[in-house]
Amino acid sequence: MADFLSLQEAVSTHINHGDTVAMEGFTHLIPFAAGHEIIRQEIRDLTLIRMTPDLIYDQMIGAGCAKKLIFSWGGNPGVGSLHRLRDAVEKGWPNSIEILEHSHAAMACAYEAGAAGLPLAVLRGYIGSDLPKVNEQIKFIECPFTGERLAAVPSVRPDVTVIHAQRADRKGNVLIEGIVGIQKEVVLAAKRSIVTVEEIVDDLNAGVNACVLPSWAITAIAEAPKGASPSYALGYYERDNAFYQQWDGIARDRETFQTWLQENVFNKGAA
């Protein structure tokens, strides 16, 4: 059964220097509060996995938490670049990071295969793309029935997964609603998992086929109201698109970024 912990305890107990960490949420339900707690605890040398690094990894990379990034689309959605990611990749600031990149389809399949306990995912992918030339994890297999050449990628099996969700009941069962992304897969694929939630309730009020993670499939739950902001939680608050646009200016400059980080992350405690 899942343990109910404070966010601070959840992070300090379950995330270690050098871990492979997946923090997911496809635009929706991105676990920003947990990301900030990781920054505050100055956890280092993480291999970070996320389809879309988004602002959360831009912040963590800028804060020096990462040594490697596995991703499939590294921009500020609808705005432009992730300047902290670019600064690390192009100039090695605050430290150089290794990158390993995929397509969305391959990463989605790799999470799916991880959840399914398989070592590989098979897809009709990467045809004609140069990505297999720069990512040696992408291989090709031949279908034993048709002879078709198909792409294969290793499944994703993180040490720790962190996601945000709408709510948990008091037994620790968690409801995810709306753009569910790969929230279920990334929790099931991981050795350990932390789920932050908007609130803890008596009854999930979930439909019969709702996306519910049972308590026994989760390691720790931490209540973190507005824990996905400036991303959003359907039914609770909207995406702060204005902040996503402002981030371009904040992140473009190292000093502005560091000031922002100090004021908005270090000077604030965990919820």
Binding site: F26, G74, E90, A105, L123, R124, G128, I179, A242
Partner: protein, 257 residues
């Protein structure tokens, strides 16, 4: 009598017109999203729009800033997981058109959204592939919309993130179970299509008041023009009005909070 409009508006309206009511369109963020929703709000009210965030048959009232804004989910028929989206709906063969933007495009309609320069020492690092590499091969055809400039229209892309017709125009030959690839590229100057046989992009229509010289100037290879070169029809007042309303609503919404 002619209406006033910008080259960007001309581009979006022309891109929208490429879509028809019976299409199932996998929509990229940015220009494709603007064009696809304009189509839905004008001549193609029943077009099925799908975003990679898992929102099936969505009808947003404002343009999403990200691929996964709440608006997309709330106005969708249903929302599925991302693995399901890529596996069942895209790879499963249910998408008639993939609608993409790009940072670089070459004469064989290959797209580069990965980087400028060398992979291990990039001059400019771009966002990467996202959904595009598999949209380009699993959708039955691909539309591309992008602003025309010499920086964007290059003879050979620095990196083939997403295949058009490959480095030699022949990459799709003898590959089973894939779509036709790019069938049209819509820019703010003109419409380009792959030439039958070679698959090299040629200009098939110029937008009103655009000259061949402007296109030549904005293209990084010796661009050719179709023999029967058409002129794109001007925007209608209704198209312009719907587009401007949509953009105004969108701007107000995202600046909102």
């Amino acid at each position: 009598m002619s209406l006033e409009y910008t080259a960007s508006e001309m581009m979006s309206i022309t891109a929208a017109r490429a879509l028809t009511n019976d299409m199932t369109c996998f929509v990229g963020i940015g220009l494709p999203s603007e064009a696809a929703n304009l189509a839905r709000l004008t001549h193609a009210p029943d077009i099925t729009l799908i975003y990679e965030s898992g929102t099936l048959q969505t009808r947003p009232d404002v343009l999403p800033l990200s691929i996964g804004d709440g608006e997309l989910c709330e106005s969708a028929l249903t929302t599925v997981s991302v693995p399901e989206m890529f596996r069942y709906w895209l790879q499963g063969g249910h998408i008639s058109v993939g609608f993409l933007g790009t940072a670089q495009i070459d004469r064989y309609a290959n797209l580069n959204t990965t980087l400028i320069g060398d992979y291990r020492a990039p001059k400019v690092r771009l966002p990467g592939g996202g959904g595009a590499p598999e949209i380009a091969t699993n959708a039955r055809e691909v539309f591309i919309t992008v602003k025309h400039s010499k920086r964007t229209f290059v003879k050979d892309v620095d990196f083939v993130t997403t295949v058009g017709f490959g480095r030699d125009g022949k990459a799709r030959e003898q590959v089973p179970n894939i779509g036709r690839g790019p069938t049209v590229v819509i820019t703010d100057l003109c419409i380009l299509k792959p030439e039958p046989g070679t698959n090299e992009l040629v200009v098939t229509a110029l937008h009103p008041n655009v000259t061949r010289e402007q296109v030549i100037e904005a293209t990084g290879w010796e661009i050719r023009f179709a023999e029967a070169l058409a002129t794109t029809p001007e925007p209608t007042s209704n198209e312009l009005e719907v587009l401007r309303d949509l953009k105004a609503r969108t701007h107000a919404h995202h600046a909102g909070q």
